[in-house]
Amino acid sequence: MMFRYSLRGRGDVNEWREAARGFMMAGIAPEYIEWRTMDDADGLFGFDDNRLPQPADPPPKISVQPSFIKLAEAVVCHSDPTRFALLYRLLFRLFHSRGLLNMASDPDVTAARRLAKSVGRDYHKMTAFVRFKELPLPEGDVGRRRFVSWFEPDHFIVARVAPFFQRRFTDMDWLIVTPKGSASWDGETLRTSDDPAPKPDLRDDTDDLWRTYYSSIFNPARLKVKMMTTEMPKKYWKNLPEAELIPGMIAKAEASVLEMAARQASEPLPYHHRIQEAASKVPVAPRPAAGTLAGVREEARHCTRCDIHCLATQTVFGEGPADAQVMVIGEQPGDQEDLAGRPFVGPAGQLFNDTLKAVGIERDQLYITNAVKHFKYQPRGKRRIHQKPNMGEIRQCRWWLTQEIELVKPRLIVAMGASALFALTDMRQKLDDVRSEPIAMEGGKTLFVTVHPSYLLRIPDEGQRRDELMRFREDLAAVQRLM
């Protein structure tokens, strides 16, 4: 037996849902139902013949996943007359295979998704292309401003999009009228109707400013008409105030570019010379004297001695008292140091600070610097992977380290890691051979070698890391005794 069922078919999911539930309760297969809508070509069907079959006994338990309801809500808005049959077929099949919606390449799933997508596009285009025109308030009225828009959507989406406009245009009254329904907002209630509305006669002077903007923001040298019409199809043009300019803009584009090319560059106006002159008179901030730590720091800011400089954000110079007794030298700044412009502020710096505190050394007594002053790294997606500086780079950067040592004149130098040791001695030694013992240097200085704290952060084995942390702490305690 064939069932016929008529719906208003104007985007309301509930009328279909009620009927579909009735048919499902009776276990009616999709091919036995003919779905009709009020707007069907062969005339208006009444809703009087709508009859649902008796539920089966016992009635089956009908439950359906929320993702299907979401899909159905979109699909019923489409103007395709087969949408209700398609949805019922999906619902019926879902009852037997619940994972069906994840089967993205199933013909019914693809068809439903295509309809939903086209409704989504229509929704999006409505949010984009509705143009409000202001209705002037009656003389003396200082109430809320009023705006009206005429729009022609492809599908029954007015009620679906209306809340968007409510969320956005809360402080004004507005009315959107379309051939597929209307929506209005008065500051308190959002009203929608699915009855077709006639086109009002509207104008707004601000449209003229908008057209000025539209034609000025266009770059005639980059004409890409197809790209424009894909995103803003011609069917929308008749209700867009700016669209009447398009043919003229396209026609004149090439000529205006050619004209631009033909014109010789002209001589600058006096304005330019005045500025240049004023700029040349701006007093340059006095540079710190050469031969002082501040002077060397300033010079190092512009260092281009090796290629790392243009990869990094900035030179990270040493910091601390200019007459510090102890100088600590690490390898090179890391990600955080590079951004902040200060040595040892990242995770390794944190570990270093904690250990200093544990052995009773004040960080601000130390002069802390690095063997290499720029951050060397390899970009990997959204991160930067630290790369060891090579010997050439360390040698180039020794230029700055040597000056720091000469100016600060520390009694004790702590080298953390192999790069620091290499920078000081030009020797590649195993750290373990020289570690933890004071070593006499020329000029009465003492050198003390330990590991770099970032090494400790990289040890995967927890037990080993604990042991190494202990050793590092003992090393710094030894430094404290040497101070």
Partner: protein, 410 residues
């Protein structure tokens, strides 16, 4: 005589059009239903119009003024150019933004400015506009401010409280290029500002100790723009710079802007047709780097002169020079491998991975997922299809190459 608002709008939007960025996406969701104000942002941006240059118009993109004390060769507003000059008052910018917004022309404001008097003075005016839009007019639409690298930290900090996105243009891919064409700009200042901005964004994203709430600070992050084709930098150099910028400063986007002839152009620059195809290929490569697991080195290695292939998209070009990796069995291959098949996008791959759990896929399935079979067939194996020796064909490249076209001068 003072120019009318309309005349100034024409000048100051013309002056802003060479900035490619127009995105209004990626910010937090918010609306005015609780505040009773005006405006909302809902995740994805909205393009309210398209100009015949194919670009979307989403924001009111204007300059506060096009007077500028800098003389950057590629810029229409450089001090030595003879373009007409104008300026808006902050009140005018606010009025235009609100009135345009009420008529649903735009998603919000993208405000930039020539540098007048000093960096701080200019930045202060821009911040004032954003502040008044938010606090006086209860505006909750999108605001993008171009920040000025030399401006004081406290101004940038305030800007981040009101703006969705902040951007600083790197302009050219190499320090040497900047030195040559934008002598007043300091590349290291630009990098330092981007670094500070990243630190600030990260600091604000940490929940506070007492309230456990995160402060809102430039929720749509920072972006930048590079001009392509004004200096001699190769695509390899450009993409290398992008990778560094993404990695170093957590940028949401790097925009590539094909250098376009400007009125009253500097004599040092080529008056050429903007290299639009090159720009397009750079965007494709940028996407491969960010969403498809490609390394910049993989995309550009072996390319002559470090330039991408203009005839073929970079993924196809890569596949043609790595034929040993194909064909790929779509019923078995990992997601990472599928992403490397020319013609598969991220959505297609998602569809394949979820569908193949139910049954083995055939070409028909791909067709329904919206895949161009002509493009993918040589590179895949599925039920009922093997490309035989298609991948080995020596004319495979020719199959994909566009038909030759008559060249025109401009």
């Amino acid at each position: 005589m003072k120019k009318s608002l309309k005349e100034r709008l024409a000048i100051l939007s013309d002056a802003a059009k060479y900035d490619a960025s127009c995105a209004s996406s990626g910010t937090v969701k918010r609306d005015s239903s609780a505040s009773g104000g005006l405006g909302s942002t809902e995740g994805s941006g909205i393009c309210h119009a398209y100009a015949p240059d194919g670009r979307c118009i989403s924001l009111l993109k204007i300059l506060l003024t096009n007077f500028c004390i800098y003389d950057c060769a590629y810029c229409i507003n450089r001090s030595s150019s003879n373009v007409e000059r104008a300026r808006f008052t902050p009140e005018e910018v606010i009025w235009l933004t609100l009135e345009f917004y009420r008529r649903n022309y735009i998603e919000g404001l993208f405000l930039s400015s020539g540098i007048i008097r000093s960096s701080d003075h200019t930045m202060e005016e821009m911040v004032r506009i954003a502040r008044e839009l938010r606090t006086v007019h209860n505006f909750r639409g999108y605001i993008h401010l171009k920040s000025i690298p030399e401006a004081s930290a406290h101004l940038i900090e305030e800007a981040g409280l009101y703006a969705d996105r902040l951007s600083i243009n790197i302009e050219l891919p190499t320090d040497a290029g900047i030195g040559r064409f934008a002598p007043e700009k300091q590349p290291d200042n630009i990098r330092r500002s981007m670094g500070n901005l990243r630190l600030k964004i990260e600091e604000m994203a940490e929940p506070t100790l007492q309230t456990k709430r995160r402060k809102k600070f430039a929720p749509a992050g920072q972006s930048t723009q590079m001009i392509v084709g004004a200096d001699g930098a190769s695509d390899t150099t450009i993409l290398g710079t992008s990778a560094r910028l993404y990695g170093s400063y957590g940028l949401k986007r790097v925009y590539y802007s094909a250098f376009s002839p400007i009125p009253d152009s500097s004599k040092n620059l080529p008056l050429i047709k903007p290299p639009l195809m090159r720009e397009h290929r750079l965007y494709q490569a940028d996407w491969l780097y960010r969403f498809y697991g490609f390394d910049i080195g993989e995309i550009t290695s072996g390319r002559e002169g470090g330039m991408l292939d203009l005839d073929l998209d970079p993924k196809l070009a890569w596949a043609l020079s790595h034929r040993e990796r194909f064909p790929v069995d779509i019923n078995r291959a990992d997601r990472e491998i599928l992403l490397r098949v020319p013609g598969f996008g991220t959505k297609t791959v998602k569809g394949i991975v979820s569908s193949r759990r139910f049954r083995r896929l055939r070409l028909d399935d791909l067709k329904r997922l919206g895949v161009s079979l002509r493009k993918v067939q040589p590179f895949i194996v599925c039920d009922g299809w093997t490309p035989h020796r298609l991948v080995d064909r020596s004319d495979l490249r020719a199959m994909f190459q566009p038909k030759p076209e008559q060249l025109s001068l401009l």
